[in-house]
Symmetry: C2
Subunit: 359 residues, 2 copies
């Protein structure tokens, strides 16, 4: 038995194919009687619309892609869930893609995977250059999250510079003066790491604390091994920091482990703070202070923005015709907050940490 087609439904309900289509799509002018008859027929045959046909006709798939560098970085996985939930509200399906931080894969994502079967793309780039972004001719609507590569693209993120400044200020307020930045980068630039580094420098400057260029520890990647390695390197060279500003939680968790192996107490000797507020940081020993981005908001805003772009492409409805052409690129900022746990505050709040909010 082959799947029922709209034709079969039409025959059973005794109406034309178009009428069935009208019922399916909630077209206004269908009498209640016909509507019910069609619904019954659909029910009886177990009819499901065939996406291929609809897609071909409408030029839309209802699928958006979420493209991240590494899905096994918890931050991206958590973000993905929010995006999925947000998209579901708009009856969009999310295709998650993992580029392995590879430029070619990111490029492929930008062009809609060679053949446009996604209506839009939410991209968290890592390896792309601004140039890559500039000359995308027939790319689907795209929203960037995290890294801002170019001023001309839609973008959603927290205020990284401000967040880093706040985190650094907190470390300074604890009396720490020798603060290393794991993942820090000196160059001016649009990247997240650069913005956070700027925030760190600003806080130091404001507090009148000297900046040692060697305090910026570059990392190859942003995983736990890299965090541990950076700490090992510093300590091996005789460095004696009293605080670590880690540019994400993975680095921080790796750093915590390395400090433990060196017998260094956290936070008594070294305070540690990260970025992202991943779940593991609520259960690590010690628990991890962190900059918590509002992930739900990032997802919501990104999907909203993307949807608006997709609607633009679909052609403005007569009502919108007065709109001033394509909106200019948006750069939206969502909230973040500093979450203080044991890695900066001591073990005073120990037991409380064990019952984290699951939101």
């Amino acid at each position: 038995m082959t799947r029922p087609r709209i034709k079969d439904v039409a025959r059973l309900a005794g109406v034309s194919e178009k009428t069935v289509s009208n019922v399916i799509n909630d077209y206004t002018h269908v009498s209640e009687r016909t509507r019910r008859a069609v619904r019954d027929a659909i029910e009886q045959l177990g009819y499901k619309v065939n996406l291929a046909g609809r897609h071909l006709r409408q030029g839309r798939t209802g699928i958006i892609a979420l493209v991240v560098p590494e899905l096994d970085v918890p931050y991206f996985a958590e973000l993905a869930r929010h995006v999925i939930r947000e998209a579901e509200k708009r009856s969009l399906t999310v295709l998650i893609h993992d580029t392995g931080a590879d430029r070619d894969h990111e490029l492929a994502a930008l062009t809609g995977f060679g053949s446009s079967f996604v209506d839009g793309v939410i991209l968290s780039p890592l390896a792309l250059t601004p140039d890559d972004l500039r000359d995308r001719a027939d790319a689907p609507p795209t929203v960037l999250i995290g890294e801002l590569l170019e001023e001309g693209a839609d973008h959603v993120a927290i205020d990284n510079e401000k967040a880093a400044r706040e985190a650094t200020e907190h470390l300074l307020s604890l009396g720490r003066r020798s603060i290393l930045v794991i993942g820090g980068r000196d160059e001016a630039g649009l990247g997240t790491a650069e913005a956070r580094t700027r925030g760190y420098l600003a806080a130091l400057r404001e507090a009148g604390v000297d900046h040692d260029p060697a305090a910026l520890l570059p990392v190859r990647s942003f995983g736990m091994p890299d965090g541990a390695e950076a700490v090992n390197r510093v300590l091996g060279e005789g460095g004696r920091p009293d605080a670590l500003l880690c540019l994400n939680d993975q680095l921080a968790l790796g750093a915590l482990r390395a400090l433990y192996e060196h017998g260094i107490r956290v936070p008594e000797e070294v305070a540690v703070i990260g970025f992202d507020d991943v779940e593991a940081g609520r259960f690590s020993v010690p628990t991890l202070s962190t900059v918590a981005p509002d992930k739900a908001a990032i997802a919501r805003v990104a999907v909203e923005l993307l949807q608006r772009r997709m609607d633009e492409v679909a052609g403005p409805t007569p009502a919108d015709a007065s709109a001033p052409g394509p909106r200019s690129p948006q750069d939206l900022v969502v909230a973040h907050r500093l979450v203080l746990r044991e890695s900066t505050e001591g073990a005073g709040a120990r037991s409380a940490a064990c019952r984290p909010t699951t939101a």
Copy 2:
């Protein structure tokens, strides 16, 4: 400017549309001259095949779905990467879906998301019942991973019973006799938790150690909060285990944290072992002993099996016509190994743990 169609390519190359299609699909009988001409035209126009058209015509999308309960459980995220990589080799695209452990979502996945636009599904069920699986009429080819719900379905997993027995035997060999199973379930059944519980019981029996039914600690879900909560409950009731067999690493990491909060040393007082070998367990304090499934193999075998099923659906080629109809359901077992770290072995291997294999 609208995207070029096959028609445009045909016109430019001075051939028919079908010939262009033949070139694209590497059809045998096309002269070298025409082939080159068509290739040039494609290049010149920047033509990309339109999936919608192809899909409608062929009934295949080249998309398979990977459906997991919770993407932010690192095990699933890590598995997802392997599946993506494996699918890529076969030029399949992976649509990752997160059901939130919700039965309705899992059901929707089974039926190809209401409208078949996926050619096949790899499903890691949690909330489904065997019945759900049985009466799927027009479902796409499906391979289960992890939970085995029903004997009649294709399935890939490690030998959970054996793995749990080995883990338990190891704890026993350390002289531990009061071993709790976090996430354990008494009922006989096909589920992963049940199989692992059986392995635990088998090891106890073989070692002549009595089993206390209260040693099986049920959990609501399999996250870090649940692991911590279980430990808190036990200790609060005055329990004094000397080992914990946690049915996944998330539970184990939560348990480690709770033990720490109670001032209980691991492994001196309580040894802990988990399942899954997630990256966080290589950096926790202490590092986590675990049963490491060969995730790459699970992914590879699952995709292979799924592909075979999809090919069957596509209709056997004349060559295969002799094949004895649809192959019977496969239940494939992949390798696992016991990885011993500080949570059972003491801190002897401390420094080594910090440079984990990144494989």
